[in-house]
């Protein structure tokens, strides 16, 4: 520990040392634990899936690690960047993502009736995953900038940008992603001071949109019908999922001992929470819920101290997206929400999406770093008190 402090001396002004003392280590640790849980759970949940589709047992495990390690590195690298660089990087990624989404209808691969994936450098990418966090950054910047320079129509630009992203998502069609993006943007404009009464109006519009999706898109309709009325159709997956939790009890059946993964096709992605519930039990699943809640509360708490409106809006939006995705995943497998194929951030097997999530969390870590000088000032104080204790 002594050595460690030597390396990261608080007066050391090198970039790494500065990063270490300013970044929120609580958040960093919590996310790292999620990464580790993810590898463990994919390792136990994926072999039956791999065998079913006729590939090697370790197929998904290897691929998950191949994606998780770069995702972690992306998170660290982004968290080192200054707000200006994050803004620029966000803009570049957003433009790239929108461009890829525009060409998807022509070159994308069609999977289960939707075109969402594109093949790039031998990787299959879902550009909309990257659009979410980068959109949060750019929209936050637009809105924050208008607060400072009233002549800049940031709110309008943000709204237009939002609409174009939604149109691109509806073309694919990706209903879940549209809901997540809309919720994220709603949180952002809410934080930016959008009046309450208009928020209510937008909620109504959102509800109308849901009803429209329900009445025009068959797969959305069947999902919601099945949720509302289990007798009407196949609730096989949710039934198995609930059975898995009951089977797990307090401490679970033990790693690898579960049976749900044999009966649910996407247990390594959309139902990994149920696998966790069965094999590791209530205790462990509550830890997972606690970790997500910790990340959210800790993140928003950091924002309370922030005096950078851009950071508040960007991080506020990204955290909302993160929290919503985790909530929808857990809610689906517990049957408090309709079944929606959404991954559990950092834990589910999800290929390139984990990299996008790493980027998003990197932005959160980067924008919630304590501003250099105040950190040093506080550090100085704490050092002197610590010396006193010694």
């Amino acid at each position: 520990m002594f050595q460690f402090q030597q390396v990261f001396s608080r007066t050391n002004r090198s970039a790494i040392a500065e990063w270490w003392w300013t970044v929120d280590r609580g958040l960093l640790v919590a996310v790292t634990i999620l990464f580790a849980f993810g590898v463990a759970l994919v390792a136990t949940a994926s072999p039956p899936v791999a065998i079913r589709i006729g590939v090697d047992d370790a197929h998904f495990i290897t691929r998950h690690i191949i994606m998780a390690v770069p995702a972690f590195l992306v998170m660290i690298v982004v968290s080192v960047l200054s707000p200006q660089y994050i803004r620029r990087l966000g803009t570049v990624i957003l433009l790239g993502g929108i461009f890829l989404m525009m060409i998807i209808p022509f070159v994308g691969a069609e999977v289960k009736g939707a075109q969402r994936w594109i093949s790039l450098f031998g990787l299959s990418l879902q550009p909309s995953e990257f659009v979410k966090p980068s959109f949060a950054i750019v929209a936050a910047w637009f809105m924050a900038h208008q607060k400072q320079y009233a002549s800049f129509h940031g709110n309008l630009f943000a709204a237009l940008l939002f609409l174009s992203c939604v149109v691109l998502l509806i073309i694919q069609p990706d209903f879940g992603m549209t809901v997540v993006l809309s919720a994220m943007f709603a949180v952002q404009i809410f934080l930016a001071g959008f009046p309450f009464r208009y928020m209510v109006v937008m909620l109504v519009i959102g509800a109308v949109g849901l009803v429209l999706a329900y009445s025009t898109l068959d797969h959305v309709k069947s999902r919601i019908d099945r949720f509302m009325n289990p007798e009407s159709g196949d609730t096989y997956q949710v039934d198995r999922s609930l059975e898995a939790f009951a089977n797990g009890g307090f401490f679970g059946t033990g790693p690898g001992q579960g049976t749900i993964k044999n009966s649910i096709p996407d247990s390594h992605a959309d139902f990994i929470f149920a696998v966790a519930g069965e094999e590791f039990g209530l205790f462990f699943t509550l830890i997972i819920v606690g970790l997500y809640l910790f990340i959210l509360l800790r993140g928003y708490n950091r924002l309370m101290e922030s005096n950078d409106l851009f950071g508040v809006l960007a991080v506020g939006g990204i955290l909302a997206m993160f929290g919503l995705q985790a909530f929808v995943h857990m809610g689906s497998s517990l049957h408090i929400l309709p079944t929606k194929g959404m991954t559990l951030p950092f834990i589910s097997y999800g290929g390139s999406s984990i990299i996008a999530m790493g980027f998003a969390m990197g932005v959160v870590l980067g924008l919630t770093r304590r501003q250099t000088r105040s950190a040093i000032a506080r550090a100085g104080l704490s050092v002197s008190t610590r010396r006193g204790n010694l």
């Binding site: 039956p48 934080l191 699943t285 005096n307 501003q371 000088r373």
Partner: protein, 571 residues
């Protein structure tokens, strides 16, 4: 932009920014409140599902187990027999050994002697259990009488017997997927054993299936031969009565030993390809397209379709496997299995029309059947007009083999829907279904077309003399993770005989057949599935005393005027 100094920032920040931040902070509190609420609901529900409902779940399990021990003599699980009364599953009463640690007098001696009788038990483990305070410890289930006698000779009062039933499947793996299997406590985990679990446990009555073990054997033998000859990874076969829907044989390969299902190398063995697997079966779907076309007014056998060049629609190009490069009549399109011609038929029928036909035939939704392992068909969503063209020749639409056979049965039996069934019913309780999907005239035309495929087309190897076999082949590229692979295919053949008055449908499918020397490098249905079906029919027909009719006029004869030339190999 931002004040860099922490000491006097409040003075430097301009008023509006500061108030905006204050407002944002207030609203963060609200958002955090929402999040807390949502996550508390999740945590509460977790507790509910895991502990509260888990308690009932566990209570249920232990309750049934106690029942088994106490009233063993009552709860004999019912037998399952085939249509001729051959036993497929039965229960034998056996003794199972348990120990009561409190009554044990000589833990060490008993443990040592037990390890001599059962070499797979470990002395240390047993001793640890015997020295605990537990009142009920399972030692060994389902003893043989000899083993039971040896245990009686040990004579320790801490050893006791519980009598329960062991499930025996005299036919072994032959009916594993359909009959299913049970766990050691006699609960059905698959097939009929699972779906009729409460019936079998409560009433102890016998269930008589429509299966015929002899046909089951023939079908398995020939499907296995086709798989082995062409090095496939699996296959499925179905024999069904096209008039009343009774399934006479249904097999899924590879299979497993129902006495020890956990020993199956992996899930692929337990996977029921007949009812749970959905496959793109390719050209066999042309039957339904042709039927939908012939149902239209103003369409006759002489209607032509231009298959001179590949069809460009949107960004797709539809090609023929073996292009004839000419304008073809309906029988020619069907006989040469032209994708272009069929796609044009699909276009003429229209999206609504084709979907309606598929839906009427029960191909669009999960089939209602007597076993639970049923697959849900996959189809293009959204269904655009281009999908109609591709679906017309079975591309991009995946159904279970059982669904395909049922739909084909409805086409050939005069045009009324049949509901496949595995359980024999009394003559009286048989539902009198007469839901008409196509007209009698169209059904006759379809039989002529399917006969033509066997007499002149891609399935000539299935022409078992005297039985007027008809059918349609299908060789589809396999879709693996959303990509169609050139070298992986599903070859299938659905046949019906006799075409003059159809009785039986025979279907065989081989998953990923590879070309071999004898097939001159082909792994198409005509080489893989068709000869297998022919062998099944050759064994099956004499067994059922179906007399061959050697000089009956060929049903396909009226179609000859519509054929322009007779050409070589098909697929």
């Amino acid at each position: 932009m931002i004040s860099r100094s922490p000491f006097n920032f409040s003075m430097r920040i301009d008023g509006e920014r500061s108030s905006a931040l204050d407002q944002a902070r207030g609203r963060i509190v609200l958002i955090v409140g929402f999040i807390l609420l949502a996550y508390i609901v999740v945590a509460g529900r977790l507790f509910d599902v895991t502990i509260i409902q888990g308690y009932f779940h566990a209570a249920e399990e232990t309750a049934t187990r106690e029942d088994d021990v106490s009233k063993t003599h009552l709860a004999r699980r019912g037998d399952i027999v085939d249509r001729n009364g051959v036993i497929l599953a039965t229960s034998l009463k056996t003794a199972s050994l348990y120990a009561d640690a409190k009554l044990m007098t000589d833990a060490e001696g008993t443990a040592r002697q037990l390890t001599k009788i059962f070499p797979n038990l470990v002395y240390g483990d047993l001793l640890k259990k015997f020295q605990s305070e537990r009142r009920f410890i399972w030692i060994h289930r389902n003893l043989t009488p000899q083993e039971q006698q040896k245990i009686l000779n040990i004579g320790d009062p801490g050893l006791g017997f519980a009598y329960d039933y062991k499930r025996i499947y005299p036919q072994g793996r032959l009916t594993a997927h359909m009959v299913g299997y049970t766990d050691v406590d006699g609960r059905g985990l698959g097939g009929i054993e699972r779906s009729f679990n409460s019936f079998l446990t409560k009433s102890s009555d016998t269930i008589r299936l429509s299966l015929d073990i002899r046909l089951q054997h023939i079908l398995r033998r020939e499907t296995q031969k086709a798989i082995s000859d062409f090095n496939g990874i699996g296959g499925a076969g179905v024999i069904m009565n096209v008039k009343n829907g009774e399934i006479l044989a249904a097999i899924s390969l590879p299979d497993f030993d129902p006495h020890d299902p956990s020993a199956a190398q992996n899930d692929l063995h337990r996977f029921n390809r007949v009812t749970l697997g959905v496959y793109e079966l390719g050209s066999t779907f042309k039957i339904f397209t042709a039927a939908a076309l012939l149902e239209k007014k103003k369409v006759s056998m002489a209607t032509t379709f231009d298959a001179r060049s590949p069809l460009h629609r949107g960004n797709r190009i539809i090609r023929d496997f073996r292009p004839e490069k000419r304008v073809m009549t309906v029988p020619e399109v069907f006989m040469y299995s032209s994708n272009i011609g069929t796609a044009l038929m699909g276009e003429a029928i229209g999206t609504q029309g084709l979907k309606a036909m598929y839906s009427d035939l029960g191909l669009m939704k999960r089939m209602d059947f007597e076993i639970d392992e049923m697959g849900r068909p996959l189809m293009p969503t959204p269904w655009r007009d281009i999908n109609t063209l591709t679906a017309s020749y079975g591309h991009g639409i995946a159904v279970t083999p059982l669904q395909l056979v049922s739909a084909v049965s409805a086409i050939v039996n005069g045009g009324t829907l049949v509901r496949p069934t595995l359980v024999m019913k009394d003559e009286k309780s048989k539902p009198q279904t007469s839901v008409r999907v196509i007209s009698k005239e169209t059904s006759l035309k379809m039989r002529q077309l399917m006969r033509l495929v066997v007499s002149d087309g891609t399935a000539r190897k299935a022409d078992v003399k005297g039985y007027m076999v008809g059918g349609k082949t299908g060789t589809a590229q396999k879709n693996v993770n959303g990509r169609y692979l050139d070298d992986k295919r599903i070859s299938s053949f659905v046949s019906v005989f006799p075409m003059t008055d159809p009785e039986y449908a025979v279907f065989i499918m081989v998953d990923e057949p590879k070309p071999n020397k004898d097939s001159f490098g082909y792994a198409t249905a005509g080489w893989v599935a068709v000869p297998a079906v022919a062998r099944v029919i050759s064994s099956f027909a004499p067994l059922y005393n179906l007399a061959p009719e050697q000089d009956a006029p060929d049903l396909a004869e009226p179609l000859r005027p519509f054929l322009h030339k007779v050409s070589g190999e098909g697929h």
